[in-house]
Subunit: 253 residues, 4 copies
């Protein structure tokens, strides 16, 4: 078999599309943000990507129907001459080193064919503790992006985010720059990293809606963020009441 199989369902004509990549990762911040965009903007599925670089498994839906694990790209035509939108989401990142590179390359080949004009990969930046108001940190393919992104609230701290970005958010961006001449940035929402975190995702969506000049209602992400806050506050009280070490909070993402 082909190591990566792309099933394309539509052939839309897209206007200078921007590609957003939101695969699972730290706190699932990027994935939550990307799926939120797809849902709120009623995006349509363009391709499914199946691959032996994903774990060999299916999920079973509520109706008993199996879902072979995959990555998918959705699209949305945006009126008034603005950039059209492509969003990459999926069940997994490539689960080997080779898989990370091959999948990123295949996605970029596809992006190039569609004349993608800019690329934003989304990720989480793990702070290791609960963050009240998560920042969005940035890394770019060239200094010309720094001012633009700072204008929309993205932070470029000296020395952070600690030297590197591991996984698809980094590799897609790095290969775009070196091998495809596609430019862009990685946007990382701060998160404790302990659980699937809508708060960091909410900040990513806010930055993206400014950057792409589209309107996205973030009410639902705000509600989910509040729920998570209440749960973690409750847990911290419990923990302090029982005098347990704080990192007993554990991992439930």
């Amino acid at each position: 078999m082909e190591k990566i199989v792309v099933n394309q369902y539509k052939r839309p004509r897209l206007n200078n599309p921007v590609l957003i990549g939101g695969l699972p990762g730290i706190g699932n911040v990027g994935k939550i943000a990307a799926e939120y965009l797809i849902e709120k903007m009623k995006m349509e599925k363009l391709v499914d990507i199946f691959s032996q670089y994903f774990p060999p498994q299916v999920f079973i839906g509520e109706d008993g129907v199996v879902h072979l694990v995959r990555n998918s790209i959705y699209y949305k035509k945006i009126p008034k001459g603005k950039n059209d939108l492509l969003v990459l989401v999926g069940d997994f990142q490539g689960s080997t080193q080779e898989g990370q590179y091959e999948l990123s390359y295949k996605i970029l080949e596809f992006a190039q064919k569609l004349n993608v004009s800019a690329l934003y990969t989304l990720g989480g930046y793990s702070t290791g503790k609960i963050v009240e108001t998560p920042r969005v940190l940035g890394a770019v393919t060239g200094v010309e992006f720094v001012n633009l992104l700072e204008y929309y609230g993205v932070v470029f701290p000296k020395g952070e985010p600690g030297g590197g970005i591991v996984g698809s958010a980094g590799v897609i961006l790095g290969m775009a720059m070196e091998l495809f001449n596609i430019r862009g940035a990685c946007l990382m929402g701060e998160t404790s990293g302990y659980f699937a975190d809508p708060k960091g995702a909410k900040e990513l969506v806010k930055v993206l809606s400014l950057l792409l000049d589209v309107n996205v209602d973030i009410k639902e992400l705000e509600e989910r963020s509040k729920q998570i806050e209440q749960i973690t506050e409750k847990m911290q009280e419990d923990v302090q009441g029982k005098n347990q070490p704080k990192d007993d909070l554990g991992y439930f993402g």
Copy 2:
């Protein structure tokens, strides 16, 4: 070498064959059921599949002759215009992620060439404790299979089997659906998962004989199930008598 080598021994003309897949897995339930069908229905070997995706080893038979590890497909022509039968069995599943996908794909290519009309992969569903009367749980390629299978006693519990099927029983089914347009289901016999379990296998064989409209004498599986029951009851008594922890039951599958 080819990563997968298929040695085909026969060229039968088959009538809308149904493919049953029963490779080693949880409680070896699927494998026991598949091997039982082959033996009781006196099926003939169609192909051997050798591959570098299997562990590099041979088994030695009672006569001292080595057996290179493999998967095999057996066939049986069924009279009266019913569907002919293909059964996949083997010593191992592919032992890498790539191997799981490549072997599943190769088997499905072969199935497609033989015009396979439906696919049933067999597996075990681990309950983690001894089950008196194991159910057969189902997962399907489309909702049109649910009623048919429920009619033959297959259960589609909400929320079970816990989200996913890992390994060949899942991947073969998922790839059949997405890449080969072959339809079917995964049938999972409940099992403690602690040992090779003929009880779950017996339930699978009962469902299959109804589903395929063939007669399979299950007496031998009933006897093996009784033997296992006696052994596990004895062990539980010993365990309780001696006040040992219950999970001393151990793994001897």
Copy 3:
């Protein structure tokens, strides 16, 4: 690069050659026997096999010159119309599952080109304790070999060697039988498995010299066996004297 690179140095005309395989393994019994044959019979190197399936390293000789790790095949023309001889030795077996299959296949392709008439792979059979007089156990590609080998002292115990042969001694034999129609046997010298063991190797050489009808002086292997016996006896005395657990003997092979 090619995954396996074969450098062939000679093009001798060989008469129905027999291939002996002695790569590193349990107690290095097969390797010691094979290297002993090469030295005592003054065999010449036919090919070097380099491969990315071996660990990425070089050894450094006494003269400071590096030796890239490899497998090699040596040959010897035997007079009086007897079978000529090929012996496979090396620094490592393939260090991945894929490597085990690919290297075995490449060696068998080469064997087939040279019209190899029979194959004997050598290995160790681990007894887990010191053996006074190691037996040579056998496994074969067909029952027709059993009588022949028993005649030369090879033992075919029921139920032993415990179900299987893992690694190149098994895979080369199994693939020879299924994919190349080359026939033969695996000969396993008993060994504690705790250290590189010339005693098991000596028994292998004795069987091989009968089987191939060649004269091999085994004096040197006898001396090395005696040295090892003295060392292990000394260690056992020390251990018993000091009341230490016997498995403190450890692994120094």
Copy 4:
């Protein structure tokens, strides 16, 4: 994608170039020496090598710009008919066994195309303790190099460096010799191996400048060596003062 992608930026005509390889390794001695040569000799970048054999990650620079991990080769034309110079450096060695071989092979193919006349791979030799005056140990593709290198102070101790060289410094040299007929040596600077060690690197640079007949100012490496000495002396005092075990020195390379 190609498993290894070579982006070549220049096409200089080189005169019998010598290739120096200094990738990360024990004490990073080879890498520090190679990067020092590049900086002090103002070498220019010839190629970048990207590969799925490297970890899937980017580094982030002070300016926020991402750097996809890579190996690179720099060059310098040396006047007066001397050998021109090529230096290989990088963020990582290949991180799989296959990667080690494939990357080494690709680099040697490139070296062959440029008519490389000799090869020196650099590495560290771990002594496991602080060394006052590190020696440079050698391993060669042929005895004809021993006298030459001993003349420049390289040591060929009997029995050392302990049998083998693991990783790219060994594999590049071994493959150069066996598959490309390129000759040379591996030069290993002694180091504790506990941290990135400029002292061993300094000794490598001294030998190389003699060997290549080029002038390299080693003042800066001397200063960095002194700083490291002061730090480790301070740590040893602290350790002894506090009666802590000596290996608390730890790993901070």
